[in-house]
Symmetry: C2
Subunit: 187 residues, 2 copies
């Protein structure tokens, strides 16, 4: 297996209610490609997954938002779930951490309801992207160019709609992280 | 107890994941004031409540969206919960049913995440309102004048932020429904 992401550190930012497959699948794909992954959350201990219609497994938090800065990482990934981004978009630390990846031209992936966070981080205006269809209007109203495709790449910014899109999402996310900084990725 | 809403019919539009207190409390307050309440949902049978951090009770659906038109009712109430409006805002029948109350100048109440539905029903532009704080930016981006108060009344349109606001919400909702149509309530 190719280890093209050897030496690369990726933060997955999440809290209770993240959609389980949308964290577990990209984490495995990125790890298989050689990346080192930290689950970053507002609190220490564990965060609880949401698995389609019920609570899912507990996932250990590797680092809290208090303990990290974006310069510790080469890239950021935001899973969905409905409850998870509803919390994170109200967390100023989560928003400034997220925004800094865009400012620093680093790759960011977001899937499903994850892009809600990006509305409050004020980074979607003028960007071409997708999401779970329920939040499409919110992204359009925030200035995004929303399109209905399984994966959308805009200068290091990778978005997908739902768990069914994960294979395409993971492949593009690895490709963009492998390419490193993108000058047109911005806040 | 005053029965000032005798002869008044009110629809509560909801689906799985509505916040239990935000349906049960206004329903009881409106019934105590003499109103006849229908729980209207996309599907027949029951809908499942969300009770803070876990699934709550099952509530019987009185009428499905297929079976009703807005002219059957004098007013509409939209409970919150994160999962419930995320579904309803993707449902064209729910959106046209909701929008018609605004067009017909009828009182509408919405609490917590319920106002998400109103973004997709395209009725919030220029309206003064509140909501759960997580969706404030989405409402502002849709053109609403968002304010942080326990209850906001704008010409028959009553909004509140969260379950703690229910007493104030219920009182204003009864008052606005008692007043009937409001000429400045509009779509």
């Amino acid at each position: 297996m190719s280890q093209q992401l050897n030496g690369t550190r990726v933060a997955i930012l999440a809290t209770d209610g993240f959609e389980e497959a949308e964290l577990a699948s990209p984490r495995k794909a990125l790890q298989d490609a050689g990346a080192q992954i930290d689950i970053v959350a507002p609190k220490s201990g564990t965060i609880r997954a949401w698995a389609k219609t019920e609570w899912g497994g507990d996932y250990p938090v590797d680092r809290t938002l208090d303990e990290v800065k974006s310069s510790d990482y080469h890239a950021l990934m935001l899973p969905g779930g409905v409850l998870n981004p509803d919390q994170l978009r109200q967390n100023d630390q989560a928003l400034s951490f997220t925004r800094q990846f865009f400012k620093d031209h680093k790759p960011v992936g977001a899937i499903c309801h994850g892009p809600w966070i990006l509305i409050n981080a004020d980074v979607v205006e003028g960007r071409t992207m997708t999401s779970y269809p329920s939040i499409a209007q919110d992204l359009k109203n925030a200035g995004a160019n929303w399109v209905d495709e399984e994966v959308v790449v805009d200068s290091g910014f990778v978005t997908s709609r739902k768990p069914d899109d994960l294979d395409a999402f993971n492949a593009k996310l690895i490709e963009e992280i492998d390419e490193g900084k993108h000058s047109k990725q911005h806040a």
